[in-house]
Amino acid sequence: MLAWGSLSKTDVIGAIIVVALLATAPFVGSRYIIGIMTVALCYAIWATSWDFMSGLTGRENFGHALFIGTGAYTAGFLNVSFGLSPWWGFPAAAIVAVLFSLLIGFPTLRLRGPYFALAMLSAAVVMQKLSIIFSETTGGQDGLNGLSPMLRSQVSAYYFTLGALVVTVTILKLIALSPWGTILRAIRGDEATCQAAGINVNFYKICALMISAAFAGFGGALYANYQLQVGPDLFDVALSINIIIMVYVGGMGSIYGPVGGALLLIGLTEGLRSFSEYRLWVYTLVLILILFFIPSGVIAPAWVRLRDWIRRSGATFARRANA
């Protein structure tokens, strides 16, 4: 029962063009650029998974770094402390992140109000503190170093990350377009009405959080295996906020928008490289400006306009050809 119908041909062609453009990057860019792009794609996975839960159901998650960090540390532990192959890290990271999402989501998502947002925020902060306090096992401030690389060349790591992003966005977008996604959006609109219609609202919200956490944990493991290092900054509030800003720039609830938001903001970060101290400053400024002036974001609304324009001009073209 997948609603392919609501994805137009233009949408699919547009997505293919973007992926093709991203796939040509290794032929054009230097090693340095490819490294930045790989990190940007990881951010895109995180932002998309954030958007799936919070953009669709409207329940703000202020501690997405909790899932990213636990995923990355899981992958790191399995590799460094237990010597397992990096490939085991991916499913394990997703499972551990889902367990954490149940721990936080089960008590807080039943409640109305800001409890969920704040519980996520504080859980991420406390996990960061714990990772520094228990430094014998976690490596403290330095984190875990020396993960064995999963892919030999940098270009194959880039393509692997790109593939993972495509799979993530496709799966999440298809769920969002299915009746499941409709229910999630209905919860954002009016929770009481959904309940009156006999929908088990809490079940859907908790499931959405679990799916979101699974992809975030997976993305965390991906990042850990690419950087070959895991540190407490993966639990940082700043990381959670950066992700939220990327989604805001991309357009909330669109799933594909945050990918553009992530690429745009990482690009901006690189452009501001010489002012690296001012980076978070610029981010928060971008957030404040967007909140004030364009609350619906940039990327997704821009694509919707472009698509309508293509359709309109395509229609006139066809009319002229027929005449």
Binding site: G58, E60, F62, L103, I104, P107, T108, R110, L111, R112, G113, P114, Y115, A117, L118, A119, L121, S122, A123, V125, V126, K129, L130, I133, F134, V237, A238, I241, I244, Y248, E277, Y278, L280, W281, T284, L285, L287, I288, L291, F292, P295
Partner: protein, 285 residues
């Protein structure tokens, strides 16, 4: 045993200061202020700048710092938060978060990441039946209790306090009675900022003053307010006592590391058992 009692009291008093301001602005204006920790950090840094760079006497510096932060809180409410009140509550939440981060970044740019020292107001230490307590901690305790008492008197016995209570019960009804709700929101934001700054000023001498110092107190304030019930002032004081003492007991009996988990564990347990908190009304939302 006695040391737990004394140190717990000091911690609880400071926590109560933090939580009361946080719950006040929520109860009155329904603003969940994620910049609350920034007010606390700003208070500490203002005192540092005034004493270390401008050589203002410590007592006067403390008063100026609290006033400055109160002005900052009012300005934030007027300029950044009020225009967003028509939008979904999420926008306000994001804005306060953005302000909090911005303040932290600005402090980092100006002062760097190394810890700064603020001199103590009281240098000598006091002996309570074998437990040595520094004068500054004792001062923090008494000042906190005095501020909380003053706040209670203000809310119960002044016209402005009555107006604030009225707005917190029913903003629309209060407007019909001629109370300017918007101005009350600004005043309460200033008050809440001032109380948080006072907490920052009081603990600055025995805490490391770093740009990120506001984050953990924000988490603690949030936990206390959940335990006590969002929007309830007596609840947040009881919550502060509960959390302050349980942290102290865990710190003394187990280790200081585990005391960090207490707040999050408390939040999760309270949300499962009694989501409205001890003093909150059920379905406050």
């Amino acid at each position: 045993m006695l040391d737990i009692l004394i140190y717990g009291a000091v911690i609880s008093a400071v926590y109560a200061l933090l939580a009361v301001g946080f719950t006040l602005i929520f109860g009155v204006a329904r603003i969940l202020n994620l910049a609350h920790g920034a007010f606390y950090a700003l208070g500490a840094y203002c005192v540092y700048t005034l004493t270390a760079n401008l050589h203002v006497p410590l007592v006067i510096a403390a008063i100026i710092a609290v006033l400055l932060v109160a002005l900052f809180g009012i300005a934030m409410e007027r300029v950044l938060v009020r225009p967003l009140r028509k939008l979904p509550p999420l926008a306000v939440l994001m804005m306060t978060l953005a302000v909090g981060l911005m303040v932290e970044q600005i402090l980092l740019l100006i002062f760097g990441s190394e810890a700064r020292n603020v001199p103590s107001l009281v240098e000598s230490s006091f002996d309570f039946g074998g437990v040595l307590l520094s004068g500054q901690r004792l001062l923090a305790f008494f000042c906190s209790v005095a501020i909380l008492g003053g706040l209670w008197l203000f809310m119960q016995h002044t016209r402005l306090g009555a107006a604030i209570l009225a707005v917190s019960q029913d903003p629309e009804g209060a407007r019909y009675m001629g109370i300017p709700s918007d101005r009350i929101f600004s005043i309460v934001m200033g008050l809440s900022a001032a109380i948080a700054a006072a907490a920052g000023v009081l603990v600055a001498p025995f805490q490391s003053v770093i740009p990120g110092m506001g984050l953990l107190p924000l988490v603690k304030a949030f936990a206390i307010v959940i335990v006590g019930g969002l929007g309830s002032i007596p609840g947040s004081i009881v919550g502060a006592l509960l959390l302050g003492y349980s942290e102290t007991i865990v710190a003394f009996k187990a280790s200081i590391e585990w005391s960090q988990i207490v707040s999050v564990a408390a939040v999760l347990i309270v949300l499962i058992v009694r989501p409205a908190g001890f003093f909150g009304k059920r379905a406050a939302f």
